[in-house]
């Protein structure tokens, strides 16, 4: 952790440039604000800034991990990117196309390029449809061949996710959680999308099943060069699947960087606290993470975000400036930025970091 080697100049919207020459996915200043209504007349009484200016990019065939606790806005980010919820503002470019600009009809057609795997396989598959018609749905919607060609494709997809072909005649209720999630994956990749959002794809599953699902996702990525956005609250999992990660807190990215850099040397107090809270199964891992840092309180109500740095209410390093303005993303390595004044030369307190 030799910070001295890194520049501590504040650079506005500093972005690592390793992957940015020609990214498959790039998000610029994405915002999603939910209006709040009050009283019997449903008067607008403010808004929740669930996603408040998020920017990152993902290179083709790579996995970007988005991590954060509940209320961080990680899932809303993923859903806004696919316009499953309309973003308030911002730009989401997928394979060169700004998704936010698409008309409804264009969007429907474009959906073949971007897909999502939901968290809960029990509720993301229609209980009244057989596996075959579930996997076939995207093929039908996007006019993929005749019924024979579609059947062939369904079989191919079942092979891909390692499910016996016979399963196409089953209903989701007859499958285990892991098997359901494989069906969800097969459906998502049915049309060879360029980009897939994986929204906590394994958090409803047991670990022994999770490992299988992760392996399948990695195999598919390797073979078809799909770009993933992996949303999760599980840092140890992310360490194993992501190439780069972004840490979210109350709608903002507080740290972005190469996975090894962020795990090796977290540059934001929140990332560090998250890492320290991981439960481990070996001494080796125990040593690989920071000592337990206990944060004050809990994540504040998103309606009442603290001024300045949103994390300051729980931060052990808080000082005067934190309440006044929000820190920029400071460059902390070749591919690592963190949103914390401790990295600002203007403040002497920066010395306390280590």
């Amino acid at each position: 952790m030799n910070d001295s080697a890194y520049t501590t100049e504040p650079t506005a919207a500093a972005q690592p440039d390793r992957d940015l020459d020609d990214p498959m996915v790039s998000v610029e200043n994405l915002k999603k604000h939910f209006p709040l209504f009050e009283g019997i007349f449903q008067k607008k009484a403010g808004e929740v800034r669930a996603v408040d200016g998020v920017s990152f990019s993902i290179a083709e065939g790579e996995t970007f991990g988005l991590v954060g606790e509940s209320g961080s806005g990680k899932t809303t980010t993923g859903r806004s990117m696919l316009r499953l919820t309309e973003p308030t503002s911002g730009r989401v470019e997928i394979d060169g196309q700004n998704v936010v600009d698409l008309s409804d009809g264009e969007l429907k057609r474009f959906r073949r390029n971007m897909q999502i795997v939901h968290q809960d396989p029990a509720s993301s598959l229609n209980p009244r449809h057989r596996v075959k018609s579930i996997i076939e749905a995207p093929l039908k919607i996007h006019d993929y061949g005749d019924s024979e060609a579609r059947l062939e494709r369904v079989e191919e997809l079942l092979d891909m996710v390692d499910l016996p072909r016979e399963f196409m005649y089953r209903y989701p209720g007859q499958l285990s959680g892991g098997q359901k999630q494989r069906v969800g994956i097969a459906r998502a990749v049915a049309l060879n999308p360029k980009f897939v959002v994986l929204d906590e794809p394994t958090s409803a599953l047991d670990v022994s099943v999770q490992a299988r699902i992760i392996n399948i996702l990695e195999e598919i990525q390797e073979e078809f060069g799909i770009t993933y956005l992996f949303i999760t609250h599980d840092l140890s999992l992310l360490k194993n699947v992501a190439d780069r990660i972004g840490v979210m807190y109350l709608g903002r990215l507080v740290e972005v960087g190469d996975v090894d850099s962020v795990f090796g040397s977290p540059q934001h107090p929140y990332s560090r606290a998250l890492l320290s809270a991981i439960s481990t199964i070996s001494e080796e891992d125990e040593l690989a993470k920071p000592d337990r840092i206990t944060l004050d309180g809990e994540v504040p109500d998103p309606r009442e975000k603290p001024s300045g740095c949103a994390f300051r209410s729980r931060c052990a390093h808080e000082f005067d400036a934190c309440a006044v303005e929000e820190p920029e993303l400071y460059e902390r390595g070749p591919d690592q930025v963190a949103r914390c004044f401790l990295h600002d030369d203007r403040f002497e307190e920066g010395a306390e970091w280590e």
Partner: protein
């Protein structure tokens, strides 16, 4: 190694069929767990068979229409006339059998119309929400506020009494229950992730509503329709009792009771047996409906 070996080898279609049968068996066991639903099933099967075979099993099929047989008028139940005869000498048992046909047919047609309208409107209102929902549901509320018999009477008064008019009239007042039921179901199903998955795949609202949501509201509709079969028979009988339904000599149960109501004290069988037939049908459908409710695990109303 393990998946492939741990799965029993099976032939695709037959395994799927076997599983289906297993589920049906399990469903039937739940259904049969409630003895009354079995009784109901037996009652309705009897009724359906009787209705289908009426021309063959009725001892006097010609009595279904008009006819005057004064030599055997107003005879009490006997071996030849199981339910006796009416004031013009027609065999009541034969007429009740033919009445079953009309009742079941009418109920079935009324509910088909009501369900088609109600379910479509309910699906659209629930899924699209917003103004569409408000407009459809307020109209539904208005129809819910008018008693079906009253509405039917008004329609028949305006269009003339006939079986067809009565059916349209009842259907017209009945759809609102289905609209409300389905809209409520849709509101909860809409929150399920598979609806978002479907949107994420690029499907439009028509496909999402009819392909994804509709199959999930079939159970409550089935239960409600079963229970309603009986009620519609009841309303239909009421209307024909008032002379608003099928006109004599058509053997509807309601009209038969109306015909016998003046002789209840002297020739009780003329009104009582058609009345029992109505109770029999209504009770049978209710018993089945309750059993189905347990099997399908839904709540109606």
């Amino acid at each position: 190694m393990s998946t492939k070996t741990s799965l029993p080898f099976f032939d695709t279609e037959s395994a799927a069929r076997k599983e289906r049968i297993r589920q049906l068996k399990r469903g039937f066991r739940t259904f049969a767990g409630n003895k009354l639903s079995l009784v109901g099933l037996a009652m309705i099967l009897t009724l359906v068979v009787a209705a289908l075979l009426a021309p063959y099993i009725a001892p006097f099929p010609e009595h279904a229409g008009a006819g005057v047989y004064f030599d055997q008028a107003s005879e009490p139940p006997s071996a030849t006339h199981l339910m006796g005869t009416d004031t013009t000498g027609r065999d009541i048992f034969s007429r009740v059998l033919f009445g079953a046909r009309l009742s079941l047919l009418m109920s079935g047609i009324v509910l088909s119309i009501a369900i088609s309208i109600g379910v479509t409107l309910g699906l659209i209102a629930g899924y699209l929400g917003g103004t569409t929902n408000t407009v459809i549901m307020r109209v539904t509320d208005i129809f819910l506020a008018i008693p079906p018999t009253l509405l039917a009477m008004a329609v028949v008064a305006a269009t003339g009494a006939s079986l067809f008019n009565v059916m349209v009239a009842i259907a017209f007042s009945w759809w609102s229950w289905y609209a409300r039921l389905v809209q409520g179901e849709v509101l909860s199903i809409k929150e399920d992730e598979f609806i978002e998955s479907s949107r994420a795949l690029g499907s439009g609202w028509v496909r999402t509503t009819f392909k994804e949501i509709l199959p999930n509201v079939v159970s409550p509709i089935t239960v409600k329709a079963t229970l309603d079969m009986g009620f519609v028979i009841l309303v239909g009988a009421g209307l024909s009792f008032l002379g608003l339904g099928a006109q004599p000599p058509t053997p509807t149960w309601g009209a038969m009771i109306a015909q016998g109501r003046n002789y209840v004290t002297s020739f009780w069988w003329i009104a009582v047996f058609p009345g029992l037939a109505i109770s029999f049908a209504v009770l049978g459908f209710n018993f089945i409906g309750d059993g189905l409710r347990d099997v399908l695990d839904v709540e109606v109303d």
